[in-house]
């Protein structure tokens, strides 16, 4: 038997030939000391890898990120379920069902079918059926208050009540939720194409799988979101349109610049309003707006001003960590920033190119939700985190889209897993491990 077979198994358990596998099994079953040796070597192998492989250093964050993604999906499903109460369940659902879970969809389906026959039939296929009492349909000069399921026709304008969403169900399982007080126009509705003009407010969509050549398109004055099979939300006001994709991908076209981008799950895009812009949070030329510390105590972060910045002076950060400590530098601007229309935060980094990982957090404060006005907002703000790696010596621009930030604390059911961004009261930067120094310059919020 190859004397290295135990070590080879440690390096890769699938590397051994069948004959060697049999020999190894026989060996460890008959020689407990060899079995003990192998198990301990496997433990050391894991410990060394976890300690030295950079990508394995953020296990807890990876768990939280997966939980956040799952939590986001659950929250969306809950919202949609609540909004579509009374309509058939989506075809995409695959979980086992008990008999009573069919009852509501069947009853709603019966209502839909009833609506299909009793209401004026649309000459075109896949018509949307509005099933929200209180919604208002404008058809030509007629203004119709919806009280029973109502089939929309091309050209109809639909307004949701001020206090609830209006739900439109399509025969293929697609569900659109028009936010309270929002309105839309059904521009096209054929067997393969559905075009909707969102004139104001918010539209959330859960779209059934589209076949080749099918199209569902949501347009605003500024933009067009063409669905590729997904769940997404579009928010529009007179000046600006914002798209948030929860699942799948959406082709988003800025109708002014005629540029199209594919927006994936967890990402957002915007069009209209002012074009690309930058909001300076701190020029990093003074330490006034910065605080330093360590969580827990034990690490050290020293801040100073370095004359050789990317532009003017910069903030030099020298840090020393001990296992389990995270020394941090926190920018605390005099007032919070409304970043809802922005793309992300960015800053210039003078790095070392040593592959060290850093975490960046934004402190997202929403007094109305927390209900704890008067307290230090930074103390009760929710923290959302993302990471970057120092891969290049010298200055480079680090851009961190808000879409990449996930809740730092474990999302409990019902908790926010995405930042609201209405009042960002701080930005924190800290190394994940080791000792060293970096420099920061021009901390900004950017929009594009």
């Amino acid at each position: 038997m190859n004397p290295d077979v135990i070590s080879r198994f440690v390096a890769d358990p699938l590397e051994l030939s069948e004959a060697e596998q049999d020999e190894l099994i026989a060996r460890i079953e008959s020689h407990p000391e060899q079995c003990l040796r192998l198990r301990e070597l496997l433990i050391i192998e894991e410990a060394l890898s976890a300690r030295m492989a950079p990508h394995r250093g953020h296990f807890s964050n990876q768990v939280r990120k997966r939980m956040a993604i799952q939590g986001s999906g659950r929250m969306f499903a809950t919202r949609l379920s609540a909004a579509t109460k009374g309509l058939p369940a989506s075809k995409a659902r695959t979980a086992p069902r008990r008999w009573w879970t069919f009852a509501a969809p069947l009853a709603a389906a019966a209502l839909l079918v009833l609506g299909w026959f009793l209401l004026p039939a649309s000459p075109e296929g896949r018509s949307g059926v509005v099933a929200t009492p209180g919604a208002v349909v404008q058809r030509g000069d007629d203004r119709i208050l919806v009280s029973t399921p109502w089939t929309l026709a091309v050209g109809d304008s639909l307004s949701a009540p001020a206090d609830s969403a209006a739900i439109i169900g399509f025969s293929d399982g697609t569900r659109l939720a028009l936010g309270p007080g929002s309105s839309l126009i059904l521009s096209t509705c054929t067997a393969t194409q559905r075009d909707i003009e969102l004139t104001a407010g918010t539209l959330t969509a859960a779209v059934a799988h589209l076949s080749e050549g099918d199209r569902l398109c949501v347009r605003t004055v500024q933009a067009e979101a063409r669905v590729i099979g997904t769940r997404f939300a579009v928010h529009a006001d007179g000046e600006r349109t914002r798209l948030e994709v929860e699942d799948g991908r959406v082709a988003f076209t800025d109708r002014v610049t005629a540029t199209t981008v594919a927006v994936g799950a967890g990402e957002h895009a915007a069009a209209g309003g002012s074009t690309a812009s930058i909001q300076l949070i701190d020029a990093c030329e003074r330490t006034d707006a910065w605080q330093a510390g360590s969580t827990p105590l034990g690490g050290d972060m020293a801040l100073s001003i370095d004359a050789k910045g990317h532009r003017g002076a910069c903030l030099a950060c020298a840090f020393t960590t001990k296992p389990g400590t995270y020394p941090w530098a926190m920018c605390v601007p005099a007032s919070g920033y409304d970043c809802r229309a922005d793309t992300g935060v960015r800053f210039w980094l003078r790095g070392n190119g040593d592959g060290r990982d850093f975490c960046v957090q934004i402190l997202d404060y929403v007094a109305a939700i927390d209900g704890r006005q008067g307290l230090d907002p930074r103390g009760i703000a929710m923290r959302f985190s993302t990471t970057f790696r120092d891969q290049q010596a010298g200055w480079r621009l680090i851009e961190l889209p808000f879409a990449s930030f996930v809740a730092h604390d474990t999302p409990q059911p019902g908790a926010r897993v995405r930042p609201v961004l209405a009042d960002v009261v701080g930005v924190v930067v800290f190394p994940m491990s080791g000792d060293g120094s970096i420099a920061l310059d021009d901390l900004e919020v950017y929009r594009r």
């Binding site: 070597l41 496997l42 433990i43 060394l48 939980m67």
Partner: protein
């Protein structure tokens, strides 16, 4: 921190060591461990009040590992038999099946043992385990380097056992 956060923070190292000690490949250890924590998070109410979380998590991890081995169809028989055989031997460090979270002592000992290594050997380990670039990774290249790492692993094992048993201060 929430209860879950605390448990995650306090047990993740031990859980990953446990999965590795059953013969789960390093490339799969984190994925399986994440699955364990996600399942645990969704069913936290199932945790009996009189059971240490790490023990509960290890039970879940063991099932995950065996499921994982079954999915590796061609090698599943071998890996399952290996895991069963390995579980019969209680390691002297790094937290086996019957202990609580005892990984801290082992990791402290590992740190101390690493500091005793010459710089070039520490560099070799750092490149072997730390290089994410597969094209340049020492792990995939010269067998001489792999042999050196094997010897270092053995040396570290003896060093850790010595420190944990108190033979080495």
């Amino acid at each position: 921190m929430t209860t879950f956060d605390t448990i995650l923070h306090e047990t993740e190292r031990a859980l990953r060591l446990y999965l590795a000690s059953l013969g789960v490949r390093l490339t799969d250890v984190d994925d399986l461990a994440q699955d364990v924590y996600l399942d645990f998070y969704q069913h936290q109410e199932d945790l009996p009040v009189d059971v240490e979380p790490i023990r509960w998590l290890k039970g879940m991890a063991k099932h995950k590992a065996y499921d994982h081995f079954r999915r590796l169809a061609q090698r599943s028989g071998f890996l399952q038999r290996m895991a069963t055989a390995l579980e019969r031997q209680q390691p002297r460090f790094g937290c086996g099946d019957g202990c609580g979270d005892g990984s801290d002592d082992m990791l402290d000992a590992l740190e101390r043992c690493l500091t005793k290594l010459p710089d070039d050997q520490r560099d070799l380990l750092a490149r072997y385990y730390g290089d994410a670039d597969e094209d340049t990774s020492v792990a995939r290249a010269p067998s001489a380097a792999r042999m050196s790492v094997m010897r270092l692993r053995e040396a570290l094992r003896h060093c850790i056992v010595g420190r944990i048993s108190g033979a080495v201060p």
